[in-house]
């Protein structure tokens, strides 16, 4: 009898633990199954469905229409090119800044504050600021006019240049912090050792810091590229209706109530970007 109750004692928490996993996963599944998994499946269903709302039969016409139409294809190409330029711009600006933060600990806090400060303020406010800065009679164009004459004024708003400048400003903090984190994780000992062994500052940067920061550069680039390719707020405000990126076409199709076409465009975007996102998640898990 004594052994029986002892077994019962040890068995009880174990059955409790078994129940615990489904119990703890219940709240999350109650949110994600009906409001994320099912909506995504429905979106895919609508993208291949016939009829006006896309529930009848099966058709790939919409994908054929998207992939056969130069309007959509050029929007797609331009979106990817813009994302590439944004990632390259963020990279070029961030690598020296992250390296400076690594070498000058006293400057870290003000730079991090300047990087993160804009992120806690609504993106609409930041875009409004850029509209003011880059407008035809704004400070940037006034400076250009002062230096090169009135004819040199640039139409930033409603053109690619304005969208890309703003996109770089919006996404650069993610890139810079990612690179700085990976540079910092190698410790200051490595750079000091290289210097002691006679490497110049330039050599330390090129042969020691940059290779060791490769993971941060990779993570940051993938993150910035995918966030840039899927953003529609920035092109919507800065493009002034003249810059059509792929995510904006999705929004336009939806506002014109062409839901199956919008769904097909969204699926194309997802298929193109998901491998990239998976890559970055794996990188993050490994880090």
């Amino acid at each position: 009898m004594a052994t029986d109750s002892a077994i019962a004692e040890t068995a009880r928490p174990r059955t409790g633990r078994k129940l615990l996993v489904p119990l703890l996963s219940l709240p999350m599944l109650a949110l994600f199954l009906p409001f994320l998994v099912v909506p995504l499946l429905l979106l895919i269903r609508i993208s291949v469905g016939g009829g006006r709302i896309g529930f009848d039969g099966f058709t790939l016409d919409r994908f054929a229409a998207v992939l056969g139409d130069t309007y959509y294809l050029s929007a797609l190409g331009i979106t990817l090119l813009m994302a590439l330029l944004t990632a390259a711009g963020c990279l070029l600006l961030s690598i020296p800044l992250a390296y400076f933060m690594l070498r000058q600990p006293r400057w870290r806090m003000p730079i991090i504050a300047a990087l993160i400060g804009p992120l806690v303020i609504s993106v609409v406010v930041r875009l409004y600021g850029w509209q003011l800065l880059l407008s035809e009679s704004g400070p940037v164009n006034n400076t250009i006019a002062l230096l090169f004459g009135d004819d040199a004024r640039v139409m930033f708003i409603g053109s690619w240049s304005g969208v890309i400048i703003t996109m770089i400003h919006t996404l650069m903090p993610y890139m810079c912090i990612a690179i700085f984190n990976s540079m910092q994780s190698m410790g200051s000992g490595v750079t000091e050792a290289a210097q002691t062994l006679g490497a110049s500052a330039w050599q330390v940067f090129l042969k020691v810091v940059l290779p060791l920061a490769a993971r941060g550069i990779m993570t940051g680039t993938v993150l910035v590229f995918s966030l840039s390719a899927t953003s529609f707020i920035v092109p919507a405000v800065m493009g002034a209706g003249r810059v059509n990126t792929f995510p904006m076409l999705i929004y336009q199709e939806a506002t014109e109530l062409n839901f199956p076409s919008a769904a097909a465009l969204a699926v194309v975007l997802l298929v193109l970007l998901l491998p990239l996102s998976a890559l970055s998640t794996r990188g993050r898990n490994a880090a």
Partner: protein
């Protein structure tokens, strides 16, 4: 000698980057004190007229209150769901754990436009209901959930199970041990998770735009619409108020060394 030059170049570069990062905010604050009804730099005169207009703008005030309501509701729900999910993912090993984690973090990797469109189609053509405050809250909840989960999970991982196990060995029930030992230690992280969830919900545009509720517009969506249509400094006063709120928040975050949370929640 060349090292000093390099350092000087570095400092100039850092200053230029700080100017680049902050200039769109500074320019908005300057404009908000302009006295002219057209946009000019530098402003031709100074006044508080745009703040006066803001004080009498009931539409903006209603949008602000609506945004706060949605963000508060979404934040409370996100914390309530993230807490058991974090316990599950950090403390338990079971088949399907990786898949569940990937699902919980999926809103981070899914394009926001796609998520917003999928929800809209589901509400309209799946459930056949009208977009309401509730559907909008659920949309925000999905977007902010991964941030809450990441912050709470990492705090729980840092804490480790040992203290609670000691409590259980000394006779406390697991729930009591969690409540009395883990919760007080994790409270700062939970507060940070709440703060970031609130900010990211409050600032969201994409979900709010797709799932907009007739008669109720969130503040960022109203500002988004005004930014595309108006051509006077009227947006600058409300923007400056939001910048001031952000600055206060940054001072608070700096004080408690929480800067990492803003960016690391995404990575």
């Amino acid at each position: 000698m060349s090292a000093t030059i390099m350092r000087a170049i570095g400092k100039v570069y850092a200053c230029l980057m700080i100017v680049f990062l902050l200039s769109p905010l500074v320019v908005v604050v300057i404009l908000s004190f302009s006295s002219t009804s057209f946009i000019a730099f530098p402003p031709r005169g100074w006044s508080l007229r745009w703040y006066d207009q803001l004080a009498h703008d009931t539409a903006i005030r209603e949008s602000l209150l609506f945004s706060i309501e949605i963000a508060a509701a979404a934040t409370v729900l996100a914390l309530l769901i993230a807490l058991p999910t974090a316990v599950l993912l950090v403390r338990h090993h079971f088949p399907g754990r990786t898949a569940l984690r990937a699902l919980a973090l999926s809103p981070l990797v899914l394009p926001e436009v796609l998520l917003a469109l999928a929800l809209l189609l589901y509400i309209q053509n799946g459930l056949h209901i009208r977009p309401s405050v509730w559907t909008l809250t659920v949309g925000h909840l999905l977007v902010i959930f991964p941030f809450s989960l990441q912050l709470i999970s990492s705090a729980m991982g840092d804490l480790g199970p040992e203290l609670e196990e000691a409590g259980i060995t000394l006779g406390a029930t697991p729930i009591r041990a969690f409540w009395l030992i883990a919760m007080p230690v994790m409270l700062p992280s939970i507060a940070a998770a709440a703060m970031f969830s609130f900010i990211f919900s409050f600032d969201n545009v994409a979900i709010s735009l797709f799932l907009s509720v007739p008669g109720n517009v969130t503040l960022p969506v109203r500002m988004f619409e005004l930014a595309n249509t108006t051509n006077d400094p009227s947006l600058s006063s409300i923007s400056s108020v939001l910048i001031l709120a952000g600055a206060i928040l940054m001072a608070f975050l700096g004080r408690f060394k929480l800067f990492d949370g803003v960016v690391n929640a995404r990575q």
